[in-house]
């Protein structure tokens, strides 16, 4: 037991590293690859004018909904200051995704000129008895497969995933617009010019109506820009005049008809409108959100957009990994050539750090969605140098002390104290730099700073917990002590002095 004292931290850190690695392997955690490594779309949006936090949060919620609509896995939407960073990994239709996030789409109310149902399964209008209620179509899920070459009602069948251009939407004239559900075309509407936009709405909410059905209740603003405008168009539709022969008013977002309720009343009060139909809780809430925030609350400027092909991303990952490996082998050889057994311990220290780093990155990737980018890999490769620097500082200190006549054994602890103080000063300076970079910068710089900071912190930990006891283990070993060259340390002075005469090393120069 006595022999183990002083090595507690060594045993602990090795066990922790092994346990962490084992957990990572068993749990199947893997680092989450960033866009630049697995391909995908990344967009930075910047609001055109000054906005408050709530507005940005609203915008993020809407953008998330839009991206979810095209069915991609795990879009990452985060805010950086007042900018919004959108990252969509592995998306197939990159062009569409790019278009979608940047649009400052407008919610529009347009009278329906003609209604072309596309699937016979499609449900038709139902009416509720409430005089203040309107009705909406709620189509059932279609089962047809999509053939993009086929057109129905003047629309190609892939319009729901391909999207509409501004000309096709034609806000000032007539247009044929699709109704989509889960990316599938389910209806087609010929609509007139836009009669009202989303800015007329105050708010909207989904709640359970009197009949136990889900309904959506929009509240309009007062005045002619709000409820006045709505009543004007509602009147036309109610009377089924030439501008609104079907009696339906379409709610259009991003060129798609969300809903086209029939107008059942000549005029409405601003807060007593209900849209009913066969809503589920989800569809009702979706419509309410679209009405409430339909358009992005603020106009955004696309500051940067990046589309990385999966092939190029993979190439970059391979290049980074191989470069890292070659660099690792090169420094390992250098360290072992210079410091022999101590060099080997330094390489083992890298191994412990690597196990911990891999576990942490994998864990963060699985639980916090933190992705490993190419900048991050570079940061890690650079940190190989940072980590070995600590070993060099310690070993050189050790050599110097032995050179000055101390025994190897007594130098081990003594030099660690001064060397560690140097290491802490230098590492803390690095950490300060990394932390500032992380806080104050944007985009790829942050990823780099994070991984550099993380590995610097790990270096501090392993230098203290592993390097000292490991070196002590080496310098206590009788086998190594009798062969100092194996340690890369010069022979102790006490041994050397006997056979080295002062003749070849003059003790003083004679003054002239």
């Amino acid at each position: 037991m006595r022999r183990l004292r002083g090595y507690g931290s060594l045993v602990t850190i090795v066990l922790i590293a092994a346990a962490a690695l084992l957990y990572t392997l068993v749990a199947g955690n893997k680092p989450l690859l960033g866009l630049d490594l697995q391909g995908g779309v990344s967009v930075v949006l910047k609001p055109v004018q000054e906005v408050d936090n709530d507005t940005i949060d609203q915008a993020i919620a809407i953008i998330r909904q839009r991206i979810d609509a095209i069915g991609v896995a795990e879009p990452e939407i985060t805010r950086q200051g007042s900018n919004i960073l959108i990252q969509i990994p592995g998306v197939k239709d990159k062009e569409r995704a790019l278009e979608l996030v940047g649009q400052t789409a407008e919610l529009q109310f347009r009278p329906v000129l003609a209604n072309v149902p596309i699937d016979p399964q499609e449900a038709t209008t139902t009416t509720s008895g409430d005089p203040a209620a309107t009705t909406t179509t709620a189509p059932g899920a279609p089962t047809t497969t999509i053939d993009p070459t086929k057109t129905v009602g003047g629309l190609s069948l892939d319009v729901c995933t391909a999207g509409m251009t501004a000309e096709e939407i034609n806000a000032t004239g007539q247009a044929v617009l699709p109704q989509c559900q889960d990316g599938v075309l389910v209806g087609s509407y010929a609509v007139g010019p836009v009669s009202l936009t989303g800015s007329a709405l105050e708010t909207a909410r989904a709640n359970l109506g009197e009949t136990g059905q889900w309904v959506v209740a929009p509240t309009f603003k007062s005045g002619s820009d709000g409820i006045g405008g709505f009543n004007a168009v509602a009147g036309q539709c109610f009377s089924k005049g030439s501008t609104c022969p079907t009696g339906q008013l379409a709610i259009v977002l991003d060129g798609r008809v969300l809903s086209a309720p029939s107008i059942n009343s000549q005029s409405f009060k601003a807060d007593q409108i209900e849209i009913s139909g066969s809503f589920t809780e989800r569809t009702a809430k979706d419509l309410a959100t679209a009405l409430k925030y339909g358009a992005l609350p603020v106009e955004f400027e696309q500051q940067q957009a990046q589309v990385v092909s999966a092939t190029l991303g993979k190439d970059a990952l391979h290049a980074g990994l191989i470069a890292g490996l070659v660099g690792l082998i090169a420094v390992s050889i250098y360290m072992m050539a210079f410091y022999r057994v101590l060099g080997l311990f330094a390489v083992l220290k890298l191994g412990i750090e690597a196990a911990l780093l891999w576990s942490i990155i994998s864990w963060l990737g699985a639980n916090n969605g933190l992705a490993l980018t190419l900048a991050g890999i570079t940061g890690i490769i650079v940190s190989i140098g940072v980590s070995l620097d600590s070993n060099v500082v310690y070993y050189e200190h050790l050599k110097e002390d032995v050179n000055h006549g101390r025994s190897i054994r007594s130098s081990t602890d003594k030099s660690f104290v001064s060397a560690f103080s140097t290491i802490v000063k230098a590492d803390v300076a690095s950490l300060i730099g990394a932390a500032l970079l992380w806080w104050l910068t944007v985009g790829p710089v942050r990823g780099f700073a994070f991984y550099l900071g993380l590995s610097t912190a790990l270096d501090l930990l392993t230098s203290w917990a592993y390097m000292r006891p490991a070196v002590k283990l080496a310098t206590r070993s009788k086998a190594l002590l009798s062969r100092p060259w194996l340690l890369g340390i010069p022979a102790e002075k006490s041994q050397e002095r006997g056979n080295q005469k002062s003749a070849n090393r003059p003790t003083a120069e004679v003054p002239k």
């Binding site: 400027e301 589309v307 470069a323 360290m335 050179n403 230098a426 690095s430 104050l440 003790t507």
Partner: protein, 373 residues
Amino acid sequence: MSTLGRLNRGETNIDFLKWWKIGLALSVFLMVVSVGSLLTRGLNLGIDFEGGVSWEVSAPGVSVDETRTALDAVGEGSAKIQIVGTDIIRVQGPESTPEHTIEVTRTLAELADVDPADISFSTVGASWGGDVTKSAIRALVFFFIAILIYLTVRLEWRMAVAALVAVFHDVLISVGAYSVFQFEVTPGTVIAFLTILGFSIYDTIVVDDKIRENERLVGQSGRLTYGQMTSLSMNQVLLRSINTTVVSLLPVVALLVVGAGIMGAVTLEEFAIALTVGLLAGAYSSIFVAAPILVWLKEHQSKFKVIRERLQSQGVDVAHAAARVDLLGVTPGAPAIDGSSTSATASGATALGTTSTPSGVIPPRPRKNQRKR
């Protein structure tokens, strides 16, 4: 003993006082070239700083001319077209509409005979690069302030100032190198420049720590000027400085040669060039910029001024490094040195024999005082 052997034992005797003058001339020259090039040639800023669209596609066997002919048809004939890495075609054009971007993407896909999804492209608004630079400069300013405070607390303000001058020197020369060779500046480059700060500081701290250890001895013995003592400290940590630089440089060079050169990963190249330049500058400046500035600041301190003047009046050559000296005057195991070194210092030459300067100020204690583990 061979030079390498002496280096290995920290027993070299390089007269850094002399080399500093050469270093000063070199640094001034490099800085003048850097500033001159920055003013006349400027920097080759990537599209991230000026706004525009950049496409990249892996297209083995397709030449720049073929690409230009193909792009002429979609109005991008004047775009900047390069082959980067081994077979990646990079096209850079001005900002345009999303429709046009997609048109060019399709043209390139046809040319390279790949799926449009295999083409990487990025569009950048002109304000993006400005934002990146602005945030980097802000980070830089905060970094300078934080490091100044940190080093002042942990070491002393003169060392902090000297370290920061060295860092400034490194960044200026690295940016200068980018201007002279017209390497493209990208956000990756900015990251690398920021990393250089950390490295440069690291090297300087290692040297400063040693100087501080020896400093107390100078004050006690009064046999060396601050400059001579610093030169001695440099010699003692020379191998340490070399090795820390080598182990930092090796992975970065691997990144440059293997990652960028052989595998053709463009982003890696951007990082690696800046890091290599910066690391070399950092290693150089910790010895040739930070140290002489520290000495200059220190020798204005009355304590060290007195020592210098006294040594000068004794006829000691203070312009050059002293021969290896035993600062403590006590060498474990070689007590005979004591008398001779005293007489030697009087004439400026010093004891060569023992070369011993225990790294700690405290002489080695007898074994029994060592803590038993």
